[in-house]
Amino acid sequence: MIEIGGFTALYIFMLSAFTGYEVISRVPVILHTPMMSGSNFIHGIVLVGAIVVMGSAETVLEQVIGFIAVALASGNAVGGYVATVRMLDMFTPKENNKGEA
């Protein structure tokens, strides 16, 4: 846990927003769906927050909600990763995926 002051956070928000915009603006149409899936995976970082919050749970209710948070977040991360890899594998050069299909 670090202290992030209001204006520092605002700068982080601003710079990250421009970064996201720039990164995706050069993506060819053929990669839009894998890209959506890939960015879907990246917000799986919510798992970190879920672990931290669950670790600090004190009452049963907090534990139940924290448990749900961790389970959902890990579903987001793992599902997003596997789905993205499966899609992107199809775009790798032929000799790698001849065995499949």
Partner: protein, 465 residues
């Protein structure tokens, strides 16, 4: 230890951005997701060393069990799902992320209700805002999943749906503001707030038609990113803020690109149904009639052509015909026919959906061209084969200003010398607009399921050999 944790988060944030960047080119894309994956694993592992996590062994065990359950189910489903069903799976994984962000906020708010001191200031407001956005993304994505999975075929519209939505939205925001700005909250109010936010997500999504779902999923993807960023601020976690915001802005841009390709403002997709203004539009008189063709005759046309362009659409995805299409392509190429693929930006259920399916079937991506690349070529094309696409080849979009799809960029299949359209029935596309291409003199209709029809073409060509 704290420095170590922060350094790992910092590296993870860099890996996410570099990974996304690498994903923007087909050559480096696979490496990109691996980089992002390494960042994710590293960040999740050091999260265990955050203060407090190791102090309570019950919580620690519960965390591990929850991770095992969540990732086990997600892994099994993501491995097994058919490529054609990928869009709804992205929706459901995205919804899970939104739900997790909302649940994080819920824990913080429950702690406050239980007598802990208030989160305070901006963080408290952002916690509530993130909870609202995350909850809407969660329940909305669940509805999007149900619609694409075919569990919910009708677009449900309550009487005065817009007014109910608006009212619910205002009430949820008021409840959120009370929670966000007060020093102590009641658990009942928090509960009511979450229920209202979840119901709003449902009502927001139900009136939107299945064909518009990609845009909505992309929007919810951006929502979840924002919710994660806001909860990251609450927890003082810069990696969450950066990753969440990057996804939030990237998702917003992607949503805009999709809506633009469909030639519809986002507000139109979210707050109006397509058919309702389409019905009233003046229909131009249709000249000519639909001509049916048999599979064998169509096969002969293609076998003796010099250049064939295949235009796949949603119908190909539904029928899972991509492997048959690939077989057809190989047969034609063996005869010396040049085969290219023309992909409309909104063909299928997501931009790039068709590319993924064709890649799955082993078709090189340099044969796959997008709208701007292929349109100038159509006058030299002998046969344009339309497989289960409709609105994206409707010339009305160029000619009739009264049509609801007027102005939408289309593939100029009507300019090809001959056009064969594979279609299940005589109905209109999702826009409900009659397709003048089907009535053109050089167009022949091959009725049937895409899988079966392409199979007939394959047999027809084989008989010639």
């Amino acid at each position: 230890m704290d420095i170590f944790i922060q350094v790992v988060y910092f590296i993870a944030a860099i890996l996410f951005i570099l990974g996304l960047k690498k994903m923007s080119s087909p050559v480096t894309a696979t490496g990109g997701i691996v980089w992002a994956g390494i960042g994710m694993v590293a960040a999740s592992l050091v999260a265990f060393f955050e203060p407090g996590v190791f102090d309570n062994s019950t919580n620690l065990v519960l965390i591990i069990v929850a991770i095992a359950i969540g990732s086990g189910i997600a892994y099994a489903t993501a491995k097994r799902v058919q490529m054609t069903d990928m869009p709804q799976m992205i929706a459901i994984y995205n919804g899970m992320g939104g739900g997790a962000a909302a649940a994080i906020a819920a824990v913080e708010l429950v702690k406050m209700a239980g007598g802990h001191h208030a989160i305070g200031g901006t963080a408290q407001v952002l916690a509530v805002l993130g909870a609202f956005i995350g909850a809407v993304s969660f329940s909305g994505s669940a509805i999007a999943f149900a619609k694409l999975q075919g569990l919910m075929n009708k677009t449900i519209r309550l009487p005065m749906h817009m007014m109910i939505n608006l009212g619910l939205f205002v009430l949820t925001i008021i409840a959120g503001m009370i929670i966000g700005f007060s020093d102590s909250v009641s658990i009942q109010l928090v509960l009511v707030f979450f229920i209202m936010a979840l119901v709003f997500g449902v009502l927001f999504t139900t009136p939107i038609g299945g064909a518009d779902m990609p845009v909505v999923i992309s929007l919810f993807n951006a929502f979840t990113g924002l919710a994660v960023a806001f909860e990251g601020y609450v927890l003082g976690n810069a990696a969450m803020i950066i990753a969440g915001t990057v996804v939030g802005s990237a998702g917003t841009l992607l949503t805009q690109l999709m809506a633009k390709a469909m030639n519809r403002p986002i507000s139109n997709i979210l707050f109006a149904s397509f058919g309702s203004d389409g019905d009233a539009a003046a229909e131009e008189d249709i000249v000519g009639s639909m001509k049916e063709v048999q599979g064998r005759d169509a096969a002969i046309m293609m076998a003796y052509a010099e250049k064939v362009v295949i235009i796949p659409g949603y119908g190909m995805a539904v029928a899972q015909a991509q492997h048959k299409v690939s077989e057809l392509t190989k047969l034609l190429e063996a005869r010396g026919v040049t085969v290219k693929f023309a992909i409309h930006p909104v063909a299928g259920r997501m931009p790039g959906h068709m590319n993924v399916l064709l890649a799955e079937a082993g078709i090189d991506y340099d044969k796959i061209l997008d709208l701007d690349e292929i349109n100038p070529e159509f006058p030299t094309v002998d046969v344009a084969l339309v497989i289960g696409a409709n609105d994206v080849v409707n010339p009305v979009a160029r000619t009739n200003p009264d049509s609801p799809i007027y102005g939408m960029p289309i593939l100029d299949a009507d300019k090809a010398k001959n056009c064969i359209v594979i279609k299940r029935g005589r109905g209109t596309g999702f826009s409900g607009v009659e397709n003048h291409l089907f009535y053109a003199d050089n167009t022949s209709m091959l009725y049937g399921d895409a899988q079966k029809a392409v199979g007939e073409l394959i047999n027809g060509i084989k008989e010639l050999q």
